[in-house]
């Protein structure tokens, strides 16, 4: 549920990594919300907040550290620790993980280690974008294109009126679609296995 696809580190700060199992994960979801369905949603929101926190702290791998924080939360819960406020607890754990993250990333930089390189040519990114835009439903694609094409707030009001929703609801909808688009681009780029320098050959028939 929203876990990073980046390869996890086997150890953090030299310790043997505890492995999250299904039982611990279920216990975490249960603690986040008594309702199983809401637990998944709360997990996703907390993961997003954690990734944002590590991003704001300029970590190179915010998703990985968000995963690590949630793993540690799950471990504490599975060990029987009582957690009154999961959000505040997550913040506390994240602050500790941040110290280790900084050391680990500095260590990586010192030894010149590099993360698995995803191709980051503008072409590769834009091919993903085109694919992800095409993967949206017509309705969502039209909504987001029109929303971000608006030059003035009044244009958006017109769009909201046509959809029969308020301007705030339109904003929320556009934001959610955009997040899906960003997630899709990230996943697509992770899946790309072309080399950075490769360019698709083209033939004269293309003309």
């Amino acid at each position: 549920v929203g876990k990073s696809n980046e390869p996890p580190k086997k150890t953090v700060a030299g310790r043997q990594r505890w492995t999250l199992d299904a039982g611990a994960f279920q216990a975490l979801l249960q603690r986040l919300s008594a309702d199983g369905q809401r637990g998944g949603e709360r997990f996703r929101i907390l993961h997003t907040k954690l990734a944002a926190y590590f991003t704001h702290e300029r970590c190179a791998y915010p998703e990985r550290w968000a995963d690590e924080t949630l793993d540690r939360m799950a471990k504490r819960i599975s060990e029987g620790q009582q957690i009154e406020d999961p959000n505040a607890f997550a913040y506390g754990v994240a602050r500790m993980v941040l110290q280790e993250a900084r050391k680990a990333e500095q260590r990586d930089r010192d030894v010149g280690a590099r993360a698995p390189v995803r191709p980051r040519t503008p072409e590769a990114v834009m091919q993903c974008l085109d694919r992800c835009l095409e993967a949206l439903s017509d309705q969502d694609r039209n909504l987001i294109r029109r929303y971000y094409a608006a030059a003035r707030p009044s244009d958006r009001q017109g769009q909201a009126d046509e959809l029969g929703i308020g301007i705030e609801a339109l904003r929320t909808r556009a934001l959610r679609i955009r997040k899906r688009l960003e997630d899709c681009v990230t996943r697509c780029r992770e899946a790309q296995n072309v080399t950075a320098e490769r360019i698709s050959p083209f033939s004269i028939e293309e003309f």
Binding site: T48, A88, I144, A151, L175, R178, E182, I199, F202
Partner: protein
Amino acid sequence: LNSYDPAVRYLLNSLSAGERERMQARLFADDAFAELLEEAERELLDAYARGELSPDLRQQVETEILTSERQRDKLAVARALAARRKQAFGRHLLLIAAAAVIIAGVASYWTIHSYAPARSEQVRVEVQATVKQGEAARAPAILLVPGALRGGNIQEVRLPADETYAAFDLVLPGAAAGEFFDAFLAPAGGPRVWSTSHVAAAHDALSITIPIAVLRPGVYRLTVSTIPLTFYYFRVR
């Protein structure tokens, strides 16, 4: 975009340590505040993508926000949405630009071929254009139009003699002045032979210079990093 907004100042790491900590505690405690921060970040990236930030703010966005692959993916989406916006406005300009280029091409063809036997149907477009100051090329720029003449001929270009660089003016409908693009050059069926990045566009146009050493006789595709990609096809004689 209000650079005094606490959310923006937090994102750009301009708050005191105490203020920053309070913002972070609220990020975890308040879903609505977390969304507000997300939105402020997207507004910053949108403004960055549209070239609307001051040099100082651009620098801050690069050092404080564009710190991970994920963040750079978000910028790619912001650029795409900015490009769509420009394209929506520039669609009608495409027709005007295309018409102007066709007229220029026909005029050029007529001028060249009215004094010589018509050897082929190929249209060579060499339009006098401003050579940007500071660029290595001094010869008139070669004008390229997006796409190809489907069912027709590929545009032929003649490279300037005694020059190290060839200047190209690309018709790029929807591009805003100051918007940045990358460009890639590859021969037909071959790998990329040249690229450039972060070139500032003029209104509906992009000027680039390509080292003549990479341009051997043959057909080339020049790709510009719009969304979707814009292609220019030409043949070097």
